[in-house]
């Protein structure tokens, strides 16, 4: 990426970034987002992340993007994981250890039904 040298370019870069973001929210595309702040990592988010990646690998899933985000501010619920399927509303899960993560991947990401026990009632 060459440096942005004008306001027009800044506008264009923003449009591109937005387009990329919207691409992720198209039907058929799945996003899995793990909160990886210090608190999340301390609560075991790395294992959660590993478990998600392993699941994708062993099941040969396609169309799933795994990203990370910062602290969600609900420390007692960490590790927190969000699942967004296409343009449906986001589902936020709390206390997701490696085991729960693979359960969510199987039940929600593969078969489309949220794992109710871990959904955060916000």
């Amino acid at each position: 990426m060459p440096a942005i040298k004008s306001l027009e370019e800044l506008k264009r870069v923003r449009e591109e970034a937005l387009a990329k973001k919207q691409l992720k929210a198209t039907p058929g595309h799945i996003q899995v987002i793990v909160a990886m702040g210090t608190c999340g990592i301390a609560a075991g988010a790395r294992d959660t992340m590993k478990s998600v990646l392993n699941f994708i690998e062993t099941e040969h899933l396609s169309g799933v993007t795994v990203t990370q985000t910062g602290c969600m501010g609900m420390c007692e619920q960490e590790p927190i994981m969000q699942v967004v399927i296409g343009d449906q509303p986001k589902v936020v899960y709390g206390k997701v250890n490696a085991e729960v993560a693979s359960q969510i991947m199987k039940q929600h990401v593969q078969n489309g039904s949220p794992v109710k026990d871990y959904v955060l009632p916000l």
């Binding site: 040298k5 923003r14 990370q68 986001k90």
Partner: protein, 593 residues
């Protein structure tokens, strides 16, 4: 003790009460009498069970069924179905709701997110995520068509004040740095968040680093600074890593470095890592530390805006102050000033901890009351206990009590009540907290963190701590309380920097509101909250069944007694660890003081 086969817990939180929780309780009692179940089923009033949003709520044990939206008219059917026939009534059951909030993510009630709007929403390691949520658009607006004076005006008009806790108007500070004719000028971001239990800034640095960087670049444009430092504490390795990555990406995109966005404005940033000294959150000590000198404060004036880093004009703000700036520029000063009170505008982040049901990081508009923060946003006191005090503003803040709960959140209001805004730590205490012990805890912290440069703080805090320790040990003597008070005033008056000036606050505020607890410690050798170990005894009461569990678990073998006979604790051996109380299944161990 009567044995009930089922317990019904009905929430009597203000919110559920407003929806008629008492009618539900009354209807329940009437119906139990009518059905002859009064001896089998116990109805208890309790604090919050769930969100209260569709109250009145109740919880039925042993099944653990959560019913919501109950009315008095539902009760006869419920009692017949659930308690007579033993069938759970599905139609009253709570349904787990899937969250629908695409813009802001999980908001707690009454929260307003400005600083935290992207935390937990975007990938902090990827600048494109930030660009997609209007990142660096404020910078474009500033560089593309605002003079530095206009930027300062805008920030001044917004009413943004220093979020590090002192509350100095940010726009005015920028103006002061701009005025000084000397170059180069520097920007400094204070990310040395050291208050125990406060990590609002960490969340911003780790979750949305670019908002801080963008705020700093805008500030540099306004003040005429050409270089800047983010002073981040070493205890936040992930924040340091995230910041460095964000800086690299911002340079790549041309937001930092030479000729930003094609203009002749140059500015760059560097992360400096602190070494674990709390005093380095004080601006003059922080700047000394940036220059590689000993982190000790110096007298002001000259203020940093005249003589800061490398002896040059320096503008220093806290993480949260900078993170507010891009939003103010994008949405306008009037939007920002529309939130909050007359003198404190916008929002404030808090780390709510202590004995609350839902601890965590929140962002609320200024002017909200402490009561709303504690009972609505943080879910009230844990386990339905009584609220006793709340400590605001970190270790230099004060304790506020029940009578202050309706204070609007505002820099001046908190100061007048004998506490302070601080950087945003809120520690909530219930009836089981001893205020002398709390004061001792905070004093222990500040005494350890005193840098030792000035005598009042170095020696004063040590003496204050010794007096408090004496009281907690049950060795307080008549006159100690007066001596403590006098010492506190002297230390506050004569110390060089904010650390020493603020250190006595927790002691003075607890003395003001809980003097009787100090007196109980000193004159009666008793700790009313039953916390201070040397002042309490564990006693086994008559309800003891002689099951031997306590005796087996006592680490010092202080408990003796025959099986099926009441046991006895030998007070000379007992170390007051409280394990017997934890393991007793019959609540037969009591604490006496």
């Amino acid at each position: 003790m009567a044995f009930y086969r089922s317990h019904v817990l009905v929430c009597v939180d203000p919110e559920c009460l407003a929806k008629g929780a008492h009618d539900v309780v009354d209807a329940m009692q009437d119906e139990l009498v009518a059905q002859g179940l009064l001896d089998e089923i116990q109805v208890l009033e309790t604090s919050r069970i769930g969100g209260c949003s569709d109250g009145p709520e109740m919880m039925v044990y042993p099944e653990g069924v959560h019913y919501v939206g109950m009315t008095a008219d539902d009760i006869p059917y419920l009692v017949e179905e659930h308690f007579l026939k033993g069938r759970i009534v599905e139609k009253f059951r709570e349904v787990t709701k899937v969250v629908v909030d695409e813009e802001l993510g999980p908001l707690r009630p009454k929260e307003v997110r400005v600083v935290l709007r992207n935390c937990g929403e975007i990938d902090p390691m990827n600048i494109e995520d930030y660009l997609a949520v209007d990142g660096y658009q404020a910078l474009g607006k500033v560089i593309g068509g605002m003079t530095p004076e206009q930027v300062i005006d805008e920030v001044t008009k917004s009413g943004l004040r220093g979020r590090g806790g002192a509350g100095f108007p940010a726009g005015r500070k920028w103006g002061l740095t701009r005025q000084v004719e000397d170059s180069p000028k520097y920007m400094v971001c204070n990310a040395d968040e050291g208050d125990p239990g406060a990590f609002m800034n960490r969340r911003v640095l780790e979750g949305d680093p670019h908002s801080v960087i963008e705020g700093m670049i805008i500030g540099a444009y306004a003040t005429g600074a050409s270089f800047g430092y983010i002073y981040c504490r070493a205890e936040y390795p992930l924040a340091v890593e995230t910041l460095n990555l964000a800086l690299t990406q911002a340079r790549e995109f041309g937001f930092l470095g030479k000729n930003i966005l094609g203009t002749d404005f140059n500015f760059d940033l560097e992360v400096r890592v602190g070494a674990g000294a709390f005093v380095c959150g004080e601006e003059t000590a922080l700047m000394a530390s940036i220059m590689g000198m000993r982190g000790e404060p110096r007298p002001r004036p000259p203020f940093p805006s005249v003589q800061g880093v490398w002896g040059k004009p320096t503008n220093n703000n806290n993480v949260e102050t900078y993170a507010n700036v891009p939003q103010i520029i994008l949405n306008g000063a009037d939007w920002y000033a529309s939130m909050g009170t007359e003198r404190s505008k916008g929002t404030k982040t808090f780390a709510v901890g202590g004995n609350v049901a839902k601890p965590g990081l929140i962002e609320v508009p200024m002017g909200i009351t402490l009561r709303e923060i504690i009972f609505d946003v943080a879910g009230g006191i844990k386990d339905g206990r009584q609220f006793k005090a709340v400590q605001t503003g970190g270790p230099m803040g004060g304790c506020l009590t029940e009578k202050h709960l309706d204070l609007p959140l505002d820099y001046e209001a908190l100061s007048q009540a004998g506490s302070m805004m601080g950087s945003g730590g809120l520690v909530v205490m219930d009836e089981n907290s001893c205020m002398v012990d709390i004061a001792r805890f905070f004093m222990d912290f500040t005494q350890a963190e005193s840098c030792g440069k000035c005598v009042p703080c170095r020696i004063g805090t040590r003496r204050i701590l010794e007096l408090l320790q004496k009281m907690c040990d049950g060795k307080g003597q008549p006159g100690d309380i007066e001596k403590l008070e006098e010492l506190c005033h002297e230390v506050a008056k004569n110390s060089l920097c904010g650390l020493g000036q603020g250190a006595p606050n927790p002691v003075l505020s607890t003395l003001a509101h809980f003097r009787h607890e100090y007196e109980a410690h000193v004159y009666e050798k008793r700790c009313p909250a039953k916390v201070c170990r040397p002042l309490i005894r564990y006693e086994i009461e008559e309800s003891c069944t002689g099951c031997m569990v306590c005796a087996r678990n006592c680490p010092v073998e202080a408990i003796s007694g025959e099986r099926r006979q009441q046991h006895v604790i030998d007070q000379n051996i007992c170390i007051r660890c409280g394990i017997c109380m934890q393991v007793c299944n019959f609540n037969s161990v009591a604490v006496e003081s």
